[in-house]
């Protein structure tokens, strides 16, 4: 007996963005009622907000794309090699990337190498590498051995097995990993402020150091809003890309 999975109704698709927009509207309405002093006025204006948000989004999206391009093939290779040692090394490297405090990594790199966007990008990629790597490996491993054997039995080459059977079957888990990495990177991208790479971290640090809570709040709410929206968008993509019947 097959289980018919219900596709989420299109109405449910819109709950998240509507909620986010509502929260943002409330926050901005509140800011509009405030009497901003000169320090707050420098950050709580449209131009500044748009610039910082754009920088933040660019950093997040580019780092996630890079992570996908680097981590998924690495995981596929590690899976193919079938050597426990290689797998262990790869996963350990990923662990180190995520466990090492991102702030420390970004500043060390800034001092040893250079400041700016590229350094922030490298740190973010290192940080988000693990979820994608681990999920891809797990996804590939959980593919039923019998299914694989059946595919080989049908005359498929290993590559064909990978592309037509293993990856599609593993895709829910892989996409979940990518989604996690995306949401991580939104939050961690706030550290870019320390090395001249812009982003909403500028607002948060500014508001914190100068005790201007309106600035701090707007910065933090914007980061959270972006994270939720990106997660929602990734969820939509996941729904579309997931093969039917899974």
């Amino acid at each position: 007996m097959t289980v018919q999975l219900k596709r989420p109704s299109s109405l449910r698709h819109f709950v998240t963005p509507v909620a986010v927009v509502a929260v943002l509207a409330v926050v901005f309405a509140w800011v509009a009622t405030l009497d901003l002093d000169s320090i707050e006025a420098r950050t709580l204006n449209a131009g500044y907000l748009i610039d910082r948000t754009r920088e933040h989004l660019v950093l997040t999206v580019v780092s996630s794309a890079l992570v996908a391009v680097l981590a998924i093939p690495t995981a596929v290779l590690a899976h193919r090699v079938r050597s426990r040692v290689v797998r262990a090394i790869v996963v350990t490297l990923g662990n180190i990337g995520q466990a090492t405090p991102a702030v420390g990594v970004v500043i060390l790199l800034a001092i040893v190498w250079q400041t700016g966007f590229t350094t922030a990008l490298v740190s973010l990629v290192a940080y988000c590498f693990l979820p994608v790597l681990r999920n891809t490996l797990t996804g590939l491993e959980q593919v039923d051995a019998a299914t694989r054997e059946a595919a080989r039995g049908m005359g498929m080459t290993p590559n064909q097995v990978l592309w037509r059977i293993e990856l599609p079957l593993a895709s829910p888990v892989i996409l979940a990993g990518l989604r996690t990495a995306l949401v991580f990177s939104v939050g961690v991208a706030t550290i870019a402020t320390f090395i001249n790479a812009g982003g909403l971290g500028d607002m948060i640090v500014n508001g914190l150091k100068l005790q201007r809570f309106s600035v701090l709040l707007v910065g933090a709410v914007l980061v959270a809003a972006i994270a939720v929206l990106i997660d929602w968008a990734a969820g939509l993509v996941e729904d579309r890309v997931r093969p039917r019947g899974l």
Partner: protein, 312 residues
């Protein structure tokens, strides 16, 4: 539960208690070698989270204890705002603050006063209304300033900030930190007062600590925003430029304390006065360098200096 496990858990709990008692950067004074006028003054002296503040907290604690107090220094808090909050909540007896900081950050003023005494008096009045008193203003001024690596300073021929405007555009590169970038008494004000006219890309936003190394390297910027009493300026071979238009606010150091504590022990001001008098910007730089560059313990640096100066 088996006896062995519960015994083990007891041992772990006991050792955790002992270890936590041993840890922490607190120090108590040694005894009232110089007098007894502050007998009964007890509590904690707080500090912010950088070398100068640790040194000042220990200096104050040891000096006051030498006059009969039983205080200890608590250097565990992070962030100016938190230390100030602790003082307002009466968790600390007092701590060293800067006139500019209190004026701008805690009293939310956007225009600093140009003259040291005027600024000190203004902030004293403002804070007195909040139950916080200022005593023993010291000569040192831990203000913002721009530094440049010494060899480049000679090459460009700059000694004053007013000379920066005339430099070619590609030499007008700056490293500043987040707070400085939006404060009236920071980048917006200084760049318009001195007419820097630096292209937007030439101004880089970095973390405070990274600015020192970036200025020394010279790759990212020629001019770095630094603090005047920092020990790293001399040790990294940086030269500080003169603020010839007197733009930056004055961050004079002074001891802030609970109004009640001062009322109960008015001699605090007299005891601290000789200490403050000796703390010039140069002297603070030297003390800070001992901690930041040489790696000495602030506690010991304070003790040695006070002994050397004959104050304890």
């Amino acid at each position: 539960m088996p006896r062995n496990t519960s015994a083990l858990l007891c041992a772990i709990a006991a050792s955790a208690l002992v270890l936590s008692a041993c840890s922490g950067s607190t120090s108590t004074g040694e005894g009232s070698s110089k007098g007894d006028e502050l007998k009964g003054l007890t509590g904690q002296i707080g500090s912010k989270d950088f070398a100068e503040q640790y040194i000042l907290a220990h200096l104050t604690t040891k000096l006051l204890n030498a006059h009969g107090a039983t205080l200890e220094a608590n250097t565990k808090l992070v962030g100016s705002a938190n230390v100030r909050q602790a003082l307002e909540n009466k968790q600390f007896v007092g701590y060293w603050e800067y006139t500019g900081t209190s004026w701008i950050t805690y009293n939310k003023q956007t225009q600093p006063l140009k003259e040291a005494k005027a600024q000190f008096d203004a902030v004293k009045t403002a804070d007195a209304a909040k139950g916080i008193e200022w005593v023993a203003p010291a000569p040192f001024n831990n203000t913002y300033t721009f530094a440049i690596r010494s060899d480049k300073a000679k090459e460009l021929g700059v000694t004053k900030m007013s000379q920066i405007a005339k430099l070619p555009a590609d030499q007008k590169t700056f490293c500043i930190e987040s707070e400085f970038s939006t404060r009236d008494d920071g980048w917006p004000g200084v760049s318009s007062t001195y007419g820097f006219d630096a292209p937007k890309d030439n101004v880089k936003l970095l973390d405070t600590g990274v600015i020192y190394t970036a200025t020394k390297d010279g790759k990212d910027c020629n001019f770095g925003e630094v603090f005047a009493t920092d020990g790293r300026i001399a040790s990294l071979g940086l030269t500080v430029l003169e603020d010839d238009k007197a733009f930056f606010p004055i961050y004079q150091g002074g001891f802030t304390l609970q109004a009640q504590a001062l009322k109960d022990h008015p001699k605090i001001a007299d005891v601290l006065a000789p200490l403050s008098a000796k703390l010039t910007t140069d002297e603070m730089q030297k003390l800070n360098a001992k901690v930041d560059v040489d790696g000495d313990e602030p506690d010991k640096v304070a003790e040695d200096w006070l002994t050397e100066q004959g104050l304890i």
